[in-house]
Symmetry: C2
Subunit: 126 residues, 2 copies
Amino acid sequence: MKYSKQREMIIRTLDGNTSHPTADAVYEELRKELPNISLGTVYRNLKQLAEQGEIRSLNGLDGKTHYDYNVEQHYHFICRKCNKVYDVSKTVAQNIKTEVFGQTGLEVEDCDIILKGLCRNCQKQQ
Amino acid sequence: MKYSKQREMIIRTLDGNTSHPTADAVYEELRKELPNISLGTVYRNLKQLAEQGEIRSLNGLDGKTHYDYNVEQHYHFICRKCNKVYDVSKTVAQNIKTEVFGQTGLEVEDCDIILKGLCRNCQKQQ
DNA sequence: TACAATAATAGTAATCATTACTAGATTTTA
DNA sequence: TAAAATCTAGTAATGATTACTATTATTGTA
């Protein structure tokens, strides 16, 4: 992989961003600094970085793919009212791989848990 | 909701089908009996039925939305080799709602668990 | 049974997220 | 510094899904 300024900025945009942005959100953010950056470049780099395990892609939240700089195993909660995405510690389903293998013989390599409901803020406003 | 033959056939196609088909797969299946059925009709009905809780829609498996006649809480495993979707009992993450609420205060209304890996058949052939 | 009101359908066009393509620009290697 | 390799911007294409519309089917009622 060859260096490019665009890729570096894409990674920097994700790092320190806890909002789990989509490709389009990263693009809009980057345009402020790099007005000529192409949406295709953002999509291509995010996809590649995820394939190499440098970042993590999240599906099933809504229609779109979201990206996460945090590649540690953890799960996600999306609020049905404000659509904000929260991280959830993997301790809530600690032994899922061994449990599934024990019960079914299916060999789990990857696990996504997607939780939906009301976040604390939106609970209050109810 | 008014009766229609098309909707009845869509439900019947899902019932007794354990393969978690996409809208397009249901359409292809139905065309054998109802050659003039429209793809849009299949999409519209599956979406409505899922909104009413009569069937369940599954996202995050691959790019497409899959449908499941089984609305009982349970989870899914997709084989990365043969792409077959398997049901997994909810007992593997029994108390996830209360655990998440206890740890984070997030009020979980719905939980999807998507597991990826190798099914038993594909393990053997390895 | 007939009739109007309502909702569904087939078929096609439109939309949205994402990927593919291409000529030209950058980075790397020797 | 020049050739080889990879990247980018910009645009076109793709694929899943939804919207639209004229027509048809279902349903409640006289």
